[in-house]
Amino acid sequence: MFRRFLLAILLPAVMATSASAAEKISVACNPTWPPMELLDDNKQIVGFDVDMIHAICKEVGLEAEFRNVAWDGIFAGVAAGSYDLVASGVTITPERQKAFLFTEPYYNVSQIIVMQNGQSAKGFEDLKGKKVGGQIGTTGVFVAQKCGVEFTLREYDDVGLAMQDLVNGRIDAVVCDSPVALYYANKKEGFSDVLTVAFRTEANEHLGFVAKKENKDLIEKLNKGLAAIRANGVEAALKKKWLGD
């Protein structure tokens, strides 16, 4: 276990030194969060975040190289400088802002609770005494922890495993970001026909790209790029392509 962690820490560090040439930036991403980021059939990382970063980088003369990083170590890696940026559907929270720099928000999400067809809940209080799953270290889990209702919260390594356990009937609900929940409930084969959206939270969360505190230049550049693709309509096209809105 510890060897795995060592490898996870050292490997990106070694790779980062070779990748930090001129105009290249390395971007960490946890591709278990469809449609924001996922692995396609050729094991390439694709998704809304990926296209956004490529489009932004093109505007400001950077080149992004994506790397597959486990979610629960993704912030440790950017803090340690293993990569320059995290683009993985990260919600801007005050806690995270204390530790990291964020770009301007590029998308708004809420939390959605997914349940099996035929099950229903109008709010967290309806989930009292039930088993609720989520991905470890995500805002869905944080919201569930803070809601003050007594239920068993199970934190999975990735949301796909939580959804699988929901389909298998081991847990009663899964909480995650709205695009991901909608993807599983409406689109994903093998899941969409058994899962349904139970309810969504009101509070809107804003997603941003994350860099370490010292990396102000990069964030400024990306903000410029973000403004540019917002102005020329590229962002809207990407939203339509991946998120259908």
Binding site: F5, F75, E95, I136, G137, Y156, Q164, N168
Partner: protein
């Protein structure tokens, strides 16, 4: 006689009697080795407890907060470990006996089990039992964890039991059989009690390894010590602090357990000391 003394008489007895009857080299060596083991153990335990105490008193925020968050996870960690040990030891004994069996079918089954399980990483087995088999059979996280870990360690322990039983002199079997013990009696009353002395230390080590490997069950969203730590680190971004505390807690538990094993080992060697 002289040779037997050299092998079996512990250093402590010699020192207590105040005279050395056998060549000093052999005894000196074992004495030194024993001392250094105790020292390393004490050093590690004192070091771990001291660092934990210092960290928590000097910087209560965040270290004490981390420590206060974790006990919930210990329950699951111990639960999984103890249940797995209770299942793995009988499984190991049966496997070990099976591997030694002259019945070809039993022997083949036991050997195949060992070969198959030894060849699959524990993490893969956990995923397999919890996520892959869920298609046909749904078991809870705790059950999956206990099944995966005890099946895995049952195979390793089978080899330990086999080696321990084989290490008992063949003459013991022959003597018991000629005194009219049947095969089962020979194994239960003569061979196994003697084999136990060889078996206990490695089995103890396997149990300690088992405790450490329970950290793998966090992939099934089981709230064990590791999962609690990961959850805390993911929320607070205090990776260094959280994993330092987790490492220290695992270390302290493991050191205490290894002390338990060595005490047990000493008890089983009681008759060696008395000689």
């Amino acid at each position: 006689m002289n040779e037997e003394n050299q092998n079996n008489m512990p250093a402590g007895v010699v020192a207590a009697e105040g005279k050395i009857e056998v060549p000093a080299g052999g005894i000196k060596l074992s004495e030194e080795r024993k001392d250094s083991v105790i020292n390393a153990w004490t050093l590690a335990l004192v070091g771990a407890v001291a660092s934990l105490t210092i960290l928590c008193t000097v910087w209560p925020d965040p270290y004490l907060d981390v420590l206060a968050f974790l006990p919930g996870g210990l329950v699951i960690t111990f639960q999984v470990t103890i249940l797995s040990i209770l299942c793995a030891i009988p499984l190991g004994l049966i496997t070990g006996l099976g591997r030694l069996s002259k019945n070809r079918v039993i022997n083949l089954i036991a050997s195949t089990y060992v070969e198959v399980i030894r060849g699959i990483p524990l993490l893969v087995q956990i995923f397999y039992i919890y996520y892959a088999l869920a298609k046909f059979l749904q078991v809870s996280g705790l059950t999956s964890a206990v099944i995966a870990i005890s099946f895995c360690y049952g195979a390793y322990m089978g080899e330990v039991f086999r080696a321990g039983i084989m290490a008992v002199n063949k003459g013991q079997t022959e003597a018991a059989r000629s005194l009219g013990f049947n095969k089962v009696q020979t194994m239960m009353y003569v061979i196994l009690p003697q084999a136990l002395r060889t078996i206990v230390p490695p089995v103890g080590n396997e149990c300690i390894a088992m405790l450490k490997d329970t950290s793998l069950v966090s992939v099934m969203a089981m709230p064990d010590l590791m999962q609690f730590g990961r959850s805390y680190a993911a929320k607070t971004y205090l990776y260094f602090e959280t994993y330092t505390i987790i490492a220290l807690i695992y270390l302290i538990i493991t050191l205490l357990l290894s002390k338990g094993v060595s005490i047990l080992e000493g008890r089983l060697n009681y008759y060696d000391k008395r000689k």
